[in-house]
């Protein structure tokens, strides 16, 4: 369909306006309700929020090296932070809700972008000539799906203690005591569980490395130095999360943490 002067109602009667050549016709394909540029921004913001949570989670995890008592105290504090202004478990539930919302938005946008990309490419195979960047970008949907499964696994394993994923001697927290350290050590003592966590941390860091690189462009960082700094921060963050988190199951397997 073309937009000609007659559509606009400016043509005098009896005058026929020739069709515009295809290049100048206004495309009448349906405008997307959720435009791609907005999906990308939404993914960037929710992804950054997720990455910041992961940093917080990493700092918490590393407290495991300060001993059982300190680690368990930290786990208990998480449930009582902000009291008496905020009720017990308040902060932890606010964080959980926010993260769940971010995840929902992130996954929805990701699925839309992926399907739209496949449709726009057509039936031709994708070309990959850009090294690590290509691999990371190509793996995004797969690392993303793996992470989604892992999140469920991780919650069943170390938060809810659901059998058979969690260990038989999983101890839930009480009002006054937490057993995060004991649960963690018991969990990672199983070689297969330690292996799952190690593999997942590798996939997570691949997802983060490309994701945080993408954030820089999606939020419109243009300056050379700004881009370089942000890309470096993203890369270091992905590496820190990999090394920091992966060290824990390794430490348990090697007998450093008992």
């Amino acid at each position: 369909m073309s937009t000609t002067a007659s559509d606009a109602g400016t043509t005098p009667p009896g005058v026929s306006v020739p069709e515009l050549p295809p290049a100048f016709q206004v495309s009448k394909r349906e405008q997307k309700t959720l435009p791609n540029w907005a999906l990308k921004v939404a993914m960037a913001i929710t992804g950054t929020f997720g990455a910041l949570f992961l940093v917080l989670h990493l700092v918490g995890n590393l407290k495991v090296y300060t001993g059982a008592e300190h680690f368990n105290d930290y786990a208990l504090w998480l449930r009582h932070v902000g009291e008496p202004l905020i009720p017990a478990n308040g902060v932890i539930w606010i964080l959980r809700c926010a993260l769940a919302l971010c995840l929902l938005v992130h996954v929805t946008c990701g699925v839309l972008i992926w399907t739209r990309g496949r449709a726009a490419r057509g039936k031709f195979p994708a070309k990959r000539n850009n090294g690590f960047r290509s691999v990371g970008a190509t793996l995004m949907p797969f690392t993303g799906c793996a992470l989604l499964v892992f999140i469920v696994f991780h919650i069943l394993d170390l938060t809810l203690g659901t059998q058979p994923i969690a260990t038989a001697d999983f101890q839930d927290h009480t009002e006054t005591a937490a057993f995060a350290y004991q649960n963690l050590v018991a969990d990672f003592s199983r070689p297969w569980a330690a292996a799952i966590y190690l593999v997942m941390m590798a996939l997570l860091s691949v997802h983060l490395a490309h994701g945080l690189f993408t954030v820089v462009s999606d939020l419109g960082a243009v300056g050379k130095r700004l881009r370089a700094i942000l890309i470096a921060i993203g890369g270091l963050l992905a590496l820190a999360i990999l090394l920091g988190n992966a060290s824990i199951p390794l430490a348990v397997q090697l007998g450093v943490l008992k």
Partner: protein, 248 residues
């Protein structure tokens, strides 16, 4: 030198295509890929067969007319060089070279190696021009622009619109092309007056015709004018600025 060519043949958009194999002999390593196709067509015409249809114009890397996928890579094996400037010395003597049109769902094949790249023109028609009355040329030095700033704007203006970025993109996105156009115009004083509407309309038209960008970076890898990936960040920035611009 001698090369075996697997060339995509397709009657028109409606029919499905296939590869046809040809052997071309007595080639010179200094010849371009297009000159090799010329040689092939001479052979075909001489034998009374239908020649292979392909697009070319300036053959000096400035018109953006040529563009083939050579061995799975838009323009050819050498990065940042148009098909017309890719030399046969990159191929070993006696090897097989596969030549197809630029591949994207947005670029329907018109005939053999020729594709319809008018979706790119639609993006330009949506705002890649100056529509405000710019008046007569101002007095020299009446409007000062920093030299390096102009050079940077011209780096983005260097885009020749060949469409290799779209063909290289696993998502069939035209973000590098649109980014280059939007950025170069928003960096200069007169066209920047319309930057808000330009970003909105060009991005909308781009999204109607092409896929979303996932930062694979393949586009910048093949771009014959070496437009940097920053163009895509700049496009997002312009679109966001347009979104948050005050509309009273």
């Amino acid at each position: 030198m001698k090369l075996t060519l697997q060339i995509w043949r397709q009657e028109n958009t409606a029919t499905s295509g296939h590869y046809e194999t040809f052997e071309v002999d007595q080639l010179d390593s200094g010849m371009s890929i297009l000159e090799m196709l010329d040689r092939l067509n001479e052979q075909l015409i001489h034998a009374g067969k239908e020649s292979v249809q392909f697009e070319s114009d300036c053959r000096e890397s400035i018109c953006g007319c040529c563009g083939l996928t050579v061995n799975g890579r838009p323009h050819g094996p050498q990065p940042h060089v148009t098909t017309c400037m890719q030399r046969l010395r990159m191929f070993t003597d006696g090897s097989t070279v596969r030549i197809e049109p630029l591949r994207s769902a947005s670029f329907p094949v018109l005939r053999d190696l020729i594709v319809d790249r008018s979706p790119l023109d639609r993006i330009i028609a949506a705002g890649g021009h100056v529509a405000v009355p710019a008046g007569t040329a101002p007095d020299p030095e009446a409007m000062l622009i920093d030299h390096t700033h102009v050079e940077r704007a011209l780096d983005f203006a260097a885009c020749i619109g060949c469409g290799a970025c779209v063909a290289a993109c696993p998502n069939g996105a035209a973000a590098l092309f649109t980014g280059a156009k939007v950025t170069h115009l928003s960096m200069l004083p007169v066209p920047s007056v319309e930057r808000k509407n330009r970003a909105e309309h060009m991005v909308a038209t781009m999204e109607e015709n092409f896929g979303p960008c996932s930062q694979y970076g393949e586009c910048a890898n093949v771009c014959p004018q070496e437009v940097p990936l920053t163009a895509i960040a700049s496009l997002q920035k312009e679109r966001l600025k347009s979104f948050f611009a005050a509309r009273i």
